[in-house]
Amino acid sequence: MTATIAPPAATAPRPPRRRRRRAGGPAGGSGRDAWLLVLPALIPIVIFSVYPLVQGILLGFTDARAGYNLPINFNGIDNYTKLGGNTLFWNSFGIGLLWAFSVTILQFLASLGLALLLNLNLRLRWLARTLALVPWAMPPVIIAIMWRLMLNPSYGPINQGMRALGLPGDINWLGNASIALPAVIVVGVWAGMPQTTITLLAGLQSVPTELHEAAAIDGANAWRRFWHVTLPALRPVIVAITTLDLIWNFNSFALVFVLTAGGPGGTTMLPMLFAYNEAFRYGNFGYAAAMGNVMVVVIAIFLFLYLRGQMRSRNA
């Protein structure tokens, strides 16, 4: 499904060796049985997702356009040389990176705080936990509509609250080129908090209590215990969820499409919105696919650097 509602299952790449049974499965089946059972799932996945994906990557090297029976020719790296000079695209790319990193970092900090609180024995914890989960179930379109109401210049409660405090209460949050992106980022944080919070909470609950006790006996205060015990233990979970958040945020579409549609003046034009317009508004399929390819390469580079950095500091 879309990136924003994609499941966090991938945070759980179980080491395969753990569950491997002896060959052949329980009641003496064979590898052929396994393939037979998997086939009904495999065929549609290959036809309708692996094949289109390969096709999509290839399209990025063609001049494909929308329309019936137009010939499609490979044009090598023409799309990419053209993209190189497309400042609008690179602007959008910069906005996308700023958006993805800001949302991921803020989301992580906010979720870590909430997860730490939820891990304490506080009253009303159940309510906070339920509230934290709700955005997960909401369609991104509706989250966007809800925040359009919140940020509405005249009716919205945020401006009303500011007026009540004697501040300028006529800010056009989504219509002002210099505030639209920060406003949209806040909505992004709100929308993505559930997965991050729940994952971190689960991680916190698996930190052995004995470690804390030992550290406390050694005289470590709460802050030092957090820094030297909790955080290192939580590290694999943190790396997994921030990696996924970064990918999801960079590829997100529906939320911003409904909030601002990329406006005002293209200041919230995420790369996905840009490529969507290129493909389905202007019909430049090949060019849009080339943009998709550039996005994959860039996100792959960032992931590589991030994960390698994490590996190194862990081994150090």
């Binding site: 396994a34 989960l133 009716y155």
Partner: protein, 297 residues
């Protein structure tokens, strides 16, 4: 991770010494303050959506509207349903989500069993594909998919949408289901086989009942994702009579004026209810199922 929801009551610190107690006297109020702030940030927009849905157009246009509606006015709901064609859209969404869920469950169940119980390379491939499918932006997939579906006449067709949703829900449904199957001790099946029950019988009478809660969670989650999906629907459905709820709502936003805010809120509220109810039903199982690997692995 089954303790996630009800929670093993675990405090971060040990309970030794007076200094710790004193520190807690100071930190507890701060912790509650932080928790309340979080609840406002997370809950206020929801509450505001709820109250807006019940406000009359006069209230919405007043320069200083109160937070609570003055009356329990259902006018917005009635008008929203008429104007945005919500019934048709909800019907389309329901058809697509139910068909997707049924298809995904039927296809994923045997495959998940194979992934969980047989020692093959499939497991690695499946994991790889699930991770890979997260990285690629949907723009790369949707263009060729659009061309393929156009060739077989499934553009502007709910069946085409069901097909796409099924394929894109499958990896995740597989992953969840195989996790639940792995959690069922294989010894139970071996015992069944030893007692002379056929493979099919063992599966039906021993595995399936134990798997039922996980199966329900997976199905409902698939339903929610299809119900909420926007991007594929935006590209693949152009006919207004075929649009799903998220599409209908997104189009409704364009026509927004001050007067329509109430209707917009009412429509949004109605469209959220099914996924919200399902989500709250399965959330404990969902979070425990998803995370067991990440945490214990």
């Amino acid at each position: 991770m089954t303790t996630l929801a009800s929670g093993t009551v675990k405090d971060t610190g040990p309970v030794t010494g007076a200094s710790v107690k004193r520190a807690r006297m100071i930190s507890r109020p701060l912790q509650y303050l932080a928790l309340v702030l979080y609840m406002i940030f997370l809950g206020f927009p929801l509450l505001f959506l709820l109250t807006t849905a019940f406000k009359t157009s006069r209230e919405l246009q007043s320069p200083n509207p109160g937070f609570l509606p003055t009356s329990f006015d259902l006018q917005n709901f009635v008008q929203a349903i008429e104007k945005a064609n919500l019934f048709t859209a909800a019907g389309n969404s329901l058809i697509v989500a139910v068909c997707t869920t049924v298809l995904v469950t039927l296809i994923a169940l045997p495959a998940a069993y194979a992934l969980a119980r047989f020692r093959t390379k499939l497991r690695g491939i499946a994991t790889g594909w699930i991770l890979l499918s997260q990285v690629f932006p949907f723009i790369l997939i949707i263009i060729p998919l659009f061309l393929v579906l156009k060739n077989i006449g499934l553009i502007n067709n709910l069946a085409g949408l069901v097909l796409v949703y099924t394929v894109w829900s499958l990896p995740f449904a597989l992953w969840m289901l195989q996790g639940y199957i792995v959690g069922i001790p294989v010894e139970l099946e071996e015992a069944g086989a030893m007692d002379g029950a056929s493979r099919f019988r063992t599966l039906r009478t021993i595995v399936l009942p134990l798997l039922a809660p996980g199966l329900v969670a997976t199905s409902l989650f698939t339903f929610i994702n299809s119900w909420n999906e926007f991007f594929f629907a935006l590209v693949l459905i152009q006919d207004p009579s075929l649009q799903t709820l998220p599409l209908a709502l997104a189009r409704f936003v364009g026509a927004e004026g001050q007067v329509q805010l109430g209707q917009l809120a009412a429509a949004s509220l109605l469209a959220t209810i099914p996924s919200l109810v399902f989500f709250l039903l399965i959330q404990k199982r969902l979070t425990s199922g998803l995370l067991s690997g990440a945490v214990k692995g």
